[in-house]
Symmetry: C3
Amino acid sequence: MSIEAKINDLGYTLPEAPAPAGSYVNYTRSGNLLFLAGGIPPVEDEYMGKVPTDTPVETAQEAARLITLNRLAVLKEAIGCLDKVKQIVTVNGFVNSAPDFYAHPAVINGCSDLLVDIFGDKGIHSRTAMGAAALPLNVSVEINMVVEVED
Amino acid sequence: MSIEAKINDLGYTLPEAPAPAGSYVNYTRSGNLLFLAGGIPPVEDEYMGKVPTDTPVETAQEAARLITLNRLAVLKEAIGCLDKVKQIVTVNGFVNSAPDFYAHPAVINGCSDLLVDIFGDKGIHSRTAMGAAALPLNVSVEINMVVEVED
Amino acid sequence: MSIEAKINDLGYTLPEAPAPAGSYVNYTRSGNLLFLAGGIPPVEDEYMGKVPTDTPVETAQEAARLITLNRLAVLKEAIGCLDKVKQIVTVNGFVNSAPDFYAHPAVINGCSDLLVDIFGDKGIHSRTAMGAAALPLNVSVEINMVVEVED
């Protein structure tokens, strides 16, 4: 099964790759490494504000899944076909964090689990999760990635 | 026109590469990738404190421009001549953020726009901007970069 | 002297590589670069909470040293022997920061100084230190690294 068929099989659809929120591009490539810009969820009320006070953990996990899908849309735009992904190398997850919230890993698992569901072993990555004081447009989660692709 | 002539043409001058603020160096190289340490603006009152309460957005953008110039000074020290830059690969921008400030992308555009003004297509990069709870020496902005250079 | 003998000579012992705190792995490799996941200190009272209000700077430096050792344990797991390290490329240090704490570089020096003590020139790295609003499990410090290794 192709990666994109697998995504559909899991009940998801790749969105349009979103426009960057500033003077930059969604990805750059250096050798076989793709550096994906920090992605955010749809700018809708439920995915905005601090976790867990404004956005419960479960909703923030859903935001992380939606970011993952829009990062994969960017990746497809970059390489044409997601089957060319060799390895999700590393993921950095920033949570718009209440000062006494400590379950950032649970939030970013929304991204990590989906990557493994989609890519299997190629989706297993190293990761850093942390709590930001605030995020662009007041979204609850922001995630960037480095991905290795086939030649 | 050389990149350094272009910088001067835009009305800027490369500063001295600043001393690191701790037990590290301004850059390392691995293959053709240069990893530039997090840079800060001149430690002067106007570039210190939280955005926008202590430092207005416009001043923080100027801080981002000054960081960009001192990162390019580091880059010149690393490779001898800025004409050897192949691509600004990725930029990470940290804003010393009031908890209800959400325009981090506007601040980091001060860096991104200048990189494109200087390097053209080679200056276009992927990017992550976020809000820090506090930054070293209480500066308003901190930026690191990965840059691909010619052999 | 081997790197591991050097570590012992400095009075330290490599710990067990800790289990990741979420759905990810401790490291991935792309070419000769190893991307180490964000590491945390032992989850013990003294290494938890905000710096400097809950954890004094000296204790946070010790946390940074303990993270460094557990990152090196991960690195050994990845490459079999620490003598194969070619260069510590870059270090990102996140401090669980009181909003008016500005000495993040001093905290992360606990990591940087130890890397240089252990690896000499190969331990000198570029670095970014910043203040997080909160960190996973409420630890005081989190550090990730990119490391270049021999073939």
